[in-house]
Every structure is written in C-alpha cells, then in structure tokens.
Symmetry: C2
C-alpha cells in the first residue's frame, strides 16, 4: 500500500493531498445520498457537485466521468462480495466445488443487480467500454475465469468468463424486470443455469 492505485479505488489513496481526500469523500457521500434518494438516472453531475460543495471540475479530476463515479460507488459496495468470495463460507467462499461456487457467485451478482440496477446501468454506460476496463468488472471476470478453469481446464476460460458474465448486463436486467415484468428470481435462476451449463460441460 502507499503506492498509486487505480483511479476508481475508493480506499486509501497513495500520496493524495489532504484537500483532495476530503473532496473525494464529500463527492462520494453526496453522490451516494442523491442516487439513493432520487435514483441514479435522475441526478446530474452538477447537482452532485453542488451537494458536495465542490466545483464540477473536481469531480471529473477525481473520477474521470459520470460512470467512473458510479464505478467508485460500486467498488465500495463490492468489498463485501469480495470478502465473501475470499473468506466467506461455502458455497460462495472457498471449499465448495467450482461449479457450485460459480452458481453461488452468479446468484450473488444477480442479487447485487437487483439492489443497484440503476447504478450499474450508469457504470456500464460509460463510453468506449470503460466499464470493462475497470476494477469491478476485472475482479468479477478473474473470479469467474479461475472457477471455470478449475471446472474445465481445457476450455478457453479467459473468453468464456466474459460470456458467462454477459447475461448480467444491467440494461438487460432492467429490461427483463421492468419492461417484460419478469420476477428477479426467475432472471437469477436463468443466469445461474446458463453459467452452470457453461461450467459443467464434459471436457470440451
């Protein structure tokens, strides 16, 4: 620790100046409150800036863009999921067979999506595929890839990991739930089933 970390890591930030750190927190808190209160789609960056008591430029300096801010917020929420994966009890934590761990993980992700669909929509909507290059997606992908490799050593797990995660795209989730009226449970089951099938195939 102490060295530069990525722009979206909300933890301790290297040699960040005191005022910068204070503003980072203020922005994150303000954004979190506004998003929670009004829904992520109905909050503008200027409103966040005003609520946080900083200029708009400061937000962009810290978080690159709107979706970067959303990612930073998610990154916080995500810590508990990461924890569950690394040290939690099976089936999501270590100890269960890979296929079951994958199913548990995908299920957990679906739950996360149910709670934060709008925020994740914003995060994923960043132009130029920022989302896929960010921390959060990278950690999901890595986890899935490792589990897949355990279940199917000979497959192209690096690529399949992305295929397994794709059904959890936030916009798709919202469409299924809000436009088509599917129960969250039903969506979760389908996503888990798809993932399980990809992981559970014979040898390839």
């Amino acid at each position: 620790m102490g060295t530069r970390s990525t722009p979206f890591d909300p933890g301790t930030h290297g040699g960040e100046r005191a005022d910068a750190a204070r503003n980072r927190r203020a922005i994150l808190d303000a954004a979190s409150a506004l998003f929670a209160e009004r829904g992520a789609d109905c909050v503008t960056v200027d409103q966040i800036a005003e609520a946080a008591g900083v200029g708009k430029g400061t937000i962009y300096r810290r978080f690159t863009d709107r979706s970067g801010l959303a990612m930073a917020l998610l990154d916080q929420t995500d810590r508990e999921l990461q924890h569950a994966i690394l040290r939690g009890p099976p089936p999501i934590g270590p100890g269960a067979p890979a296929g079951e761990r994958l199913a548990a993980f995908i299920g957990a992700l679906a739950d996360l999506l149910e709670r934060h669909a709008d925020l994740m929509s914003v995060a994923e909507s960043g132009s130029g595929g920022v989302w896929y290059r960010g921390n959060v997606y990278a950690s999901y992908r890595l986890h899935v890839e490792v589990l897949l490799r355990e279940a199917r050593p000979d497959a192209d797990c690096a690529t399949l990991a992305d295929m397994v995660l794709a059904p959890l795209a936030a916009d798709l989730y919202r469409h299924l739930r809000d436009d088509r009226g599917l129960e969250p449970e039903r969506i979760r089951v389908a996503a888990v089933e798809a993932a399980t099938l990809v992981a559970g195939a014979p040898t390839a």
Copy 2:
C-alpha cells in the same frame, strides 16, 4: 401490408406522406454513407441532418433518437439474415437440428457484429433499453427462443434466449476485440460454445 408498422421498419410505410417517405430515404442514405465513411461514433445527428438536406427535427420525428436511426439501418442489413434463417440452406436455415441451427445463427450474429460493431454499439446504447424493445432484438430473441424450445422443451426458454444473446452485446465485443486484442474468430467460437452448451443440456 399498408397498415402502420413499427417506427423502425424501413420498408413500405403505411399511409406515409410523399415528402415524409422521401426524407426517410434521404436520412437513411445520408446516415449510411456517413457512418460507413467515418465510423458511427464520429458522426453527429446534425451532420446527418445537413447531409440529408433536412432539419434535425425531421430525423427525430422519424426515428425517435440517434439509436433509433441506427436500429433502422441495422434492420435493413438484417433482412438477409432473416432470409437465411427462414429460407436459406441448413445449418442456419430450416432442416438442421435445433442445436446446430442455434450454433450457426450465433455464429452469423458474431460475423454481423464484426462488420457493424460500431453501428450496433450506437443502436444498443439508446437510453432506457430501447434496443431490447426494438424489432431487431425481438426477432433475434424469438428465433433463439424457438430453437431452444425445440432442444429443451422443459426449460425456461423465454428467459434463456436473452442469456444466450447477451454475450453478443456490441460493447463487450468491441472490448474483447479492441482492448483485449482477441481474434474475432476466438470470440465467435466462445459465444457459439456458450450457446451450444445452454441448448445442449440433458433435460433440465
């Protein structure tokens, strides 16, 4: 025919006025040319309007929004794919077993994506999930759903269809190809494999 069709169908348009039809074509042609020449990400709606010799309002009246215009363009491109599905030779056309037809279809979609990734990005980026409510996605989904049902009558094919299509999201495709440097072929194979596994499972 002759009755009102959906706003994105570029074919004959019900009781459309002559000037309206002329403008529709002009817009579609101008957009098509500009997109081809400069890449869909680098063309603004105003530029299209100017090139087509119409006001910007006309574009929005006809196509709802930027992504609606992209969808209309795709809808044209898509006709040949639809034709191949309905009357073409196996394995993509009728005659082959469902699993093989699905694999062929997903493969064809991946090829389409390779050729029109930027356009599809624009189409999918419409706010509020317009893409998922549009013609093009609906036709893909229906086709996949039917094939899945044939292969796995007892599964929740309506929902699994979306899961099978998800890996072909344009932004993901571009990320894999442009950021991660994967060969189109490799992406296609992975998408096809994932789809096949979902379709090919025992009984559920």
